[in-house]
């Protein structure tokens, strides 16, 4: 792998992109999980697919290449995230209904754009399950830029996000602008999803946002600890997943998720053992 890694640009692009999303997906994922919004990631990833299909359609039918599928996917994802917020405000008592609406809307649009672009091809397959060879230099640089912006914003608004996630009522009473912070957060989530899709694919992107968090939740005492552990688990899953995916010629989405599940099971087991030991000792 090392020789290949030095020789092939695309492998380096993929690997570095993987390292970036190994940070940003669990970073946002931690807030998503504690706020019980895990399914929103799924809904947004399907909207992103519609955006990607739209980009591919433009490319095929009109030879428009300056809007890459990454950018059109991102645009759709962000618009979808704003829609989810609007729907959640409309259906106050049934906030979760926003998720199936946006998810099915995303799939519906995807089907339309895919068939307009003359159906399925390998490119689309890569978007569904991820790929070790699909990341171009341009994509990598875009994702690098997005990652820096995301990490910077989370760093700047960390204390507000934590306070809001823990107890929205108290945060509002103490004078934090819950609505604006929440909107900012959901837009960031949309960007992370769009950025991650090249590596893990539409169908599995929410797994990279939630599984490392589910694992670290078993072990961490506090929030910061959980955040750091989630990122470590996320990175481990991405690195092991990408390498094994490359060797066995399997889309990395599959291997990354399987590694994440192994980490999750190990953390549940570890918690059990330490609990039993504490009781016995």
């Amino acid at each position: 792998m090392l020789a290949d890694f030095i020789q092939y640009d695309f492998l380096r692009n993929t690997f570095f992109t993987g390292l970036l999303i190994g940070i940003i997906a669990p970073l946002l994922g931690t807030f998503i999980v504690v706020r019980r919004l895990s399914l929103i990631a799924d809904a947004l990833s399907h909207v992103t697919l519609a955006g990607i299909a739209f980009g591919l359609f433009l490319e095929k039918k009109f030879a428009i290449t300056f809007i890459t599928p990454l950018y059109s996917g991102m645009a759709f994802s962000v618009i979808g995230s704003v829609f989810i917020e609007k729907l959640r405000a409309v259906y106050k008592a049934y906030q979760e209904i926003a998720i199936p609406i946006i998810l099915s809307g995303g799939v519906g649009l995807s089907v339309i754009f895919i068939s307009l672009a003359n159906g399925f091809n390998t490119d689309l397959f890569n978007y569904l399950f991820g790929s070790v060879s699909a990341v171009s230099q341009k994509d990598f640089l875009s994702i690098l830029g997005i990652s820096i912006v995301i990490i910077l914003i989370i760093w700047l608004f960390y204390k507000e996000l934590v306070t809001l996630s823990f107890d929205e009522e108290h945060a509002t009473v103490s004078g934090i602008h819950a609505k604006h912070i929440h909107l900012l957060f959901i837009v960031l989530t949309a960007l992370v999803i769009a950025a991650s899709i090249r590596i893990v694919g539409v169908l599995l992107v929410s797994a990279l946002m939630t599984l490392p968090v589910a694992a670290s939740m078993r072990l961490a005492k506090g929030f910061k600890q959980m955040l750091v552990l989630s990122i470590i688990f996320g990175e481990a899953a991405v690195i092991i997943g990408l390498i094994s995916g490359y060797y066995f010629s399997i889309p990395p989405g599959g291997t990354i998720v399987v590694v994440s599940i192994i980490i999750l099971l190990a953390s549940i087991f570890l918690k059990r053992v330490s609990f039993t030991l504490k009781r016995a000792g």
Partner: protein, 252 residues
């Protein structure tokens, strides 16, 4: 008596067509410990929500620290403790330190960071409520009474002048309720924090409060504990309507 911190003038509020509060006039002065009691559905929680600016009155005016509520911006002068021992985000893995630090978020302000001096403030607030041995424990592993102390520390850390507590003893056992009131008493006397305590616990509270107000749609009584004790059965049943029997049986 000090200056008025909260003033309500002819405040009315309805949910849909049901009138919850009708022409409530009410004042809390600096340094007092006011116990607000009344039957369930009497509008106690609605009143706190109005004071906290979470909802707006249909009629009447509210003043905080002498300023109309619409112009009031210094929300960190007011601390709020709700029934959160029962309803905060329980799955959230946060240490006691992290939870109390959240009380400083709004005061520190946007785009500014948590510093070493803030850390001292947080530890001090944790000590004030006697939870220093648990500072780095997960909040989810504590008892209801301990959690409630942590939530008080979260309100105290921003050094509010007025603390509003909405039924904070719900779900806390009897012995801890006593300790809880002693803590409130100390905050009021030693630290000069003005308290508004909303409760249906008419027993213990009267030993510590300096003022008692009864609310059932409108304000039926506002006086000191001695005056409250002198109220006759007939007055109480007027205040509580049909609920008088339920309330007295509560404390048997």
């Amino acid at each position: 008596m000090g200056a008025p911190l909260i003033t309500l003038k002819d405040v009315s509020f309805s949910y849909d067509d049901k009138e919850i509060l009708s022409k409530v006039n009410f004042q809390i002065n600096k340094g007092s410990f006011l116990g607000l009691i009344g039957p369930n559905g009497g509008g106690k929680t609605t009143l706190t929500k109005l004071i906290l600016g979470l909802i707006k009155p249909d009629h009447g005016e509210i003043f905080l620290f002498g300023m109309p509520i619409s112009n009031f911006k210094d929300w960190n002068r007011i601390g709020f403790v709700s029934q959160k021992a029962n309803s905060f985000n329980k799955g959230f893995p946060a240490t006691v330190f992290e939870v109390v630090a959240m009380g400083l978020t709004a005061k520190i302000g946007y785009l500014k960071f948590f510093k070493r001096s803030h850390k001292q403030q947080v530890l001090h607030a944790i000590e004030q409520v006697g939870m220093q041995d648990y500072a780095y424990e997960n909040i989810g592993n504590l008892s209801g009474g301990q959690q409630q102390r942590v939530f008080i520390a979260r309100s105290l850390v921003s050094e509010p002048e007025l603390l509003i507590l909405d039924e904070p003893t719900v779900g806390v056992d009897y012995e801890n309720v006593q300790r809880f009131y002693e803590l409130l008493h100390e905050l009021n006397k030693a630290h000069g924090i003005t308290l508004l305590l909303v409760t249906h616990d008419t027993g213990t509270m009267t030993e510590y409060a300096t003022d008692i107000a009864c609310l059932n749609k409108t304000l039926h009584f506002h006086g000191n504990p001695n005056e409250y004790a002198a109220l006759k059965e007939t007055d109480l049943s007027r205040i509580y309507g049909h609920q008088v029997s339920i309330v007295t049986h509560d404390h048997e």
